[in-house]
Subunit: 706 residues, 2 copies
């Protein structure tokens, strides 16, 4: 891209020389007081208060209006009520303030009037070259510039960047994490995104050399496709730990009232985030648990976990959890077992994986470290999970001794199973600030390790150079024609036969079939296709043909065929009757492939279990189009019914390459034709190891006809 990098475009926001707080106050509990307190605590130098009724607040000079400040102002924080926010923005524009943070709520997230007011503020700001963050947010946090958030100063400089559509999330996560020794580069709460969006700041943090790990909370995106590509690009270099709020219908209802963002469907978000290499989480605790690992540990080279546990019961339970998460708990090599045997107590315990240190570890806690070191040095596992019964300081020593001077770094997660809530509350910050990834429960450690592995796998796959899929220009021209014809005739869907003509043009295998409008054509079709065959009523308005009794399967001979023909022609009388004569495909493995044009992400490919009950069984997965071969293979592996494609009860293994190819081509159709709203191939039948589109429907977008 030729445009200026977003980093150089937005970086000034985080380094203001002077800040004005509009609506500053000294009344306890008021936001104006909270912000003043924080800025005074951080010792920010060029701070100005604006309040018409005061001349000094918390020792800072206060001005009646912004215009009265005799210096330039880089960043203004607007804390005034909703109805005076526009005036504040107008003042900022007049003063030449570069960035305006509007914390006030009651705008687009509330009602139409609020939305209008919000748009007016943006218009005023933009005309003066100012940028707006918010409204309905807590603004910008940057310890290297001494810019605080409301909950606490926390001015340690670190490498975690955060962006959030929820102000509380931004504020609380930075506050709690900082107290645990996890320091941030920058954090942004962008609220209603009237001007600058979460995606803008994600892109910024992706380019920011001071940010190594990104945390995000999002409820929706105005441009899902851009969010998707930004995330996918960043994930190749640094991890994004993202919590998508508002995923269920009712959650989305709350989300609309919260930030005014539109939430996409849950399944599409899940697929898009996975495809972009994003680490998805679903709670505050999970955000922190991922941070503990991603910030401190190297990426694993594989998914083999070695478990070292003092308590035997916890070893059992943690093995369960790891295996359920798809991690491996391999057997150890003889050499490793021999080394463990020497290090372990003589009685009880186990030198298998999980290593059970037994009660003897209570008497000799250093044995934890010996076992970890043996696994770290050997080549049996890629990650280590230590379930420790020692308390804080001792545990720091044990882990640091065990891992000191090791060349091949492996991620290590430690579950601390000693002490009370209170002592654990003290031990956590101690361990984390000593570089030890610590958890209150081994199952959480296992979950974090599995996410680290998922991310490592994405990174490895992203390194592969993938050949671009060839363009299908002829197919595009042909199907443009089919669609144009249909639109001219006022169709909102392509008929089954027209739909298959489009699929066929793109190289997707379809059933052999012919349309017959009269007896002569029917006789020809029979001769051409051969028995057994399927006869269906045909027409663009004929959907749900089975329920309407317009489908005759397994027609075995001339006699049956002509009886069916007469029945169908009779049923279709007066509708320009025609029948579709198709080869009868036998197979019991039915899949579905399709495209759905999403409001946020554009054309998305769907793949899953097919057949009549596809909607009820809901075993599907989505990806944003286009998909490459690896992504298509990931989709195939995503569904619960994946075992259906293996050799099974005398059925052959499916050709997965052919299936991946079909997914890639279907995605291309969706991308090539904006007029297509939906493609639905169901069933895509696996017959004798090969795939065939047996029924298909393409729905056209009514919008594009207007």
């Amino acid at each position: 891209m030729s445009r200026k990098s977003i980093f150089s475009e937005l970086d000034y926001i985080f380094h203001p020389n002077s800040v004005a707080i509009i609506g500053a106050s000294d009344k306890p509990g008021k936001m104006g007081r909270i912000f003043m307190d924080r800025f005074v605590e951080t010792g920010f130098q060029q701070l100005h208060a604006v309040n018409p009724h005061e001349t000094e607040i918390m020792g800072v000079k206060s001005y009646a209006t912004l215009g009265d400040i005799p210096h330039s102002v880089d960043l203004a924080i607007v804390l005034t009520p909703t109805d005076s926010a526009l005036q504040a923005v107008t003042d900022c524009a007049a003063k030449g303030v570069r960035t305006i943070v509007i914390t006030t709520s009651g705008f687009a997230e509330t009602d139409a009037k609020g939305r209008q007011l919000q748009e007016e503020m943006v218009r005023v700001a933009r005309s003066a070259g100012c940028r707006i963050i918010g409204p309905n947010c807590v603004g910008v946090y940057c310890p290297s510039s001494r810019l605080p958030f409301p909950l606490g100063p926390g001015m340690e400089i670190g490498s975690v960047g955060l962006v959030s559509q929820s102000g509380f999330f931004a504020d609380y996560v930075t506050y709690r994490a900082t107290a645990n020794g996890i320091a941030f580069s920058k954090a942004i709460s962008c609220g209603n995104e009237a001007d600058l969006t979460a995606t803008d700041f994600l892109e910024y943090l992706g380019e920011d050399p001071h940010t190594e790990v990104i945390v995000a909370y999002m409820e929706g995106a105005k441009d899902g496709r851009r969010l998707f590509s930004v995330c996918k690009e960043i994930s190749k270099r640094k991890p994004i730990i993202l919590w998508k709020g508002g995923i269920t219908e009712d959650g989305a209802r709350a989300a609309v009232s919260h930030t005014g963002a539109m939430a996409g469907s849950r399944a599409i978000w899940e697929g898009a985030l996975k495809q972009a290499g994003v680490v998805s989480v679903g709670s505050f605790d999970e955000v922190l648990e991922c941070l503990h690992l991603f910030r401190l540990q190297p990426l694993p080279k594989g998914k083999r976990v070695g478990i070292v546990s003092a308590p035997g019961g916890a070893a059992v339970a943690t093995t369960d959890v790891c295996l359920q998460l798809g991690l491996d708990i391999p057997h150890f090599s003889d050499r490793t077992k021999e080394r463990l045997r020497h290090a372990m107590p003589p009685v009880g315990g186990s030198i298998n994986n999980p290593v059970d240190l037994s009660f003897a570890s209570l008497a000799n806690p250093r044995i934890h470290g010996d076992a970890v070191r043996i696994l770290a040095e050997g080549n049996d596992v890629d990650m280590i999970l230590l379930i420790a019964v020692a308390r804080g300081e001792l545990l720091c020593d044990i882990v640091q001794e065990a891992t000191a001077g090791l060349e091949a770094a492996k991620p290590l997660a430690v579950a601390l199973m000693a002490g009370t809530d209170e002592s654990i509350g003290r031990d956590f910050p101690l361990l984390l600030s000593n570089g030890i990834s610590v958890y209150s429960d081994p199952s959480k450690a296992a979950k974090a390790l599995s996410r680290l592995w998922e991310y490592a796998r994405f990174r490895t796959a992203a390194e592969d150079v993938r050949p671009p899929e060839r363009k299908m220009a002829a197919a595009r021209a042909f199907s443009d024609q089919v669609i144009a014809n249909a639109l001219r005739k006022g169709q909102t869907v392509l008929s089954e036969h027209e739909s298959k003509e489009v699929l066929k043009a793109y190289g997707i295998p379809v059933t052999k079939e012919r349309v017959a409008r009269n007896e002569r054509e029917f006789a020809e079709a029979i001769g051409d296709i051969g028995f057994p065959l399927v006869v269906k009523g045909v027409g663009s308005s004929l959907t749900h043909k089975t329920e309407r009794g317009l489908v005759y399967l397994d027609v075995r001979n001339e006699k049956e065929a002509w009886a069916v023909f007469e029945e169908l022609m009779d049923k279709l009388k007066g509708k320009g009757p025609a029948v579709l004569v198709q080869e009868m495909v036998r197979g019991s493995r039915e899949l579905m492939v399709g495209v759905s044009r999403d409001g946020q992400f554009g054309p998305c490919v769907v793949y899953g279990l097919g057949g009549v009950f596809a909607e009820i069984l809901r075993d599907t997965t989505f990806r944003v189009a286009p998909v490459d071969r690896q992504e298509a293979l990931d989709m195939i592996n995503d569904i619960r019914a994946r075992g259906m494609l293996t050799p099974f009860r005398g059925m052959e293994a499916a050709n997965l390459d052919q299936l991946a190819d079909i997914l890639i081509r279907v995605a291309a159709i969706g991308l090539d034709h904006e007029e297509i709203k939906e493609i639905d191939i169901n069933p895509l039948m696996l017959s004798h190891a090969t795939f065939l589109a047996v029924d298909a429907l393409i729905v056209l977008s009514c919008a594009s006809q207007a």
Copy 2:
């Protein structure tokens, strides 16, 4: 039952007048020292040490042998090495010790020699009327008797009872929970269960008037069926929060080495625990999270949750979680909204569910309490989830003021979103000991509430008097005959036709069908059943008939029928050829029903999605036989594909009562016939709103032939 109640049988174990510690020590880190320390700390009066090398340990008189103690000993704790444990037991038997706790490991959980030694100890103890707890355990904790566990004294007396096959679980959970103000009645670590088992102690705690909530960790049960009935009976009166470890194959591997218990299959355990009303959890944290709620809150009357949140983002996310857990987030009545409007700040926020208190709640935290009180007083919700930003003491006041004097009690869970790990570590014990169920994350609070609701629902259902299902004596006699004939002929399975004869006798609808051994019989069968029909090869040794090409579907006329007959007779030549002529059942809804005789739980019923891919789609659920009508309906509702039984694309709704009836009857067959190892009805086809067993197989247990 006429036998003595298990409570009066085992209660003495928890009230010993005198205790001897065999293997007492003063060396730091030794278990002998740890136990001495704890008993001295609790101030237990009649304590004796046994150690041949000391005369006094920690101020307690020490004897060379147990026999030297000049008093009677009620409870002995054996801490000696594995090879001297038998001698210790022999000494206890001679001394007339009533209960022997053996903490030592290296017995049945290690090898055959250890198992032999363990059995010998039991023999010696039983011959003298002593009971053994362990080996490989930490014994018995009872604060009212001042009996401690190794981690800490924690002598507060409470109402939680705990039993565990893992010593660490028992020790750590009591220790951490006690530090949070959750006190226990008794806790038992029963290790290898050489004599007394976890099930014994569960039954004991069920009868114990001092125990109101039970917590358990189990890896397996020697008698699953007894465990099941004990749990089911207890759950009608008090909740059991149970963690089943060793659920995956590798977890089970570790479990075998840990306690020597046999782990049953995961799916059967899940079904059995659900059926018994047990609250299943899967991690240490979940155990504590459930305890926080079950110990303190009343049972809810329904599943409607009202969410009150200061942070808007958290409200969105928590709504997601609740809905995914199957809870309802209802809209409020006008009256409730009106009351909330008066209590709420003028700007931002929402008086819908979730209630968003907005940033104003930071300035006025008491607003949390107003909203909670309004929801507690109204009739809009059954449970309340408060996401609070206030710290410990203030939050205590707010919640207590809000709920004081309320008549209709509703469960309230509080997510504390304020402070650091360290301050939260202090606030948790404070809130819990003030009767407030507190969580570090709202998603955990939601999960605990959903479990409380699941349990409340079980309790309500358990109150219904259920009519006993009538006995099927004639069916039993008939099928005894069929099975006996088959066994006499050396069959290990019943043929499809024989299997269906058994099903039919029990009133399960099967396809109309006849066996034909020659042309005359075949002609008769055709005439009797009518076209279209299905023709299959028949014989007890013929399983997987489809793969062997022995099934001809949709045979439409005489000509096709006779061609098929000849082909089949030819294929089956020399095997006493016969064919099965069946009505052709059309339907696309295929289910499966069966029985599996489990090593731990005996005959279990399985129900799920059927068809060729049943094993791959694995959408099944299990229950222990017998099942009553409510349990059968629960099973039907358990599977993901349940929507398949609703009216769908022109298909009728299924008759769920008929389906429940089939499940009840299949369970009865499994219970009536010990010789039956497996019953497999697949597909059970739904054809025109009614169910029909289309294919069936009964596998006989080879063991019963021996």
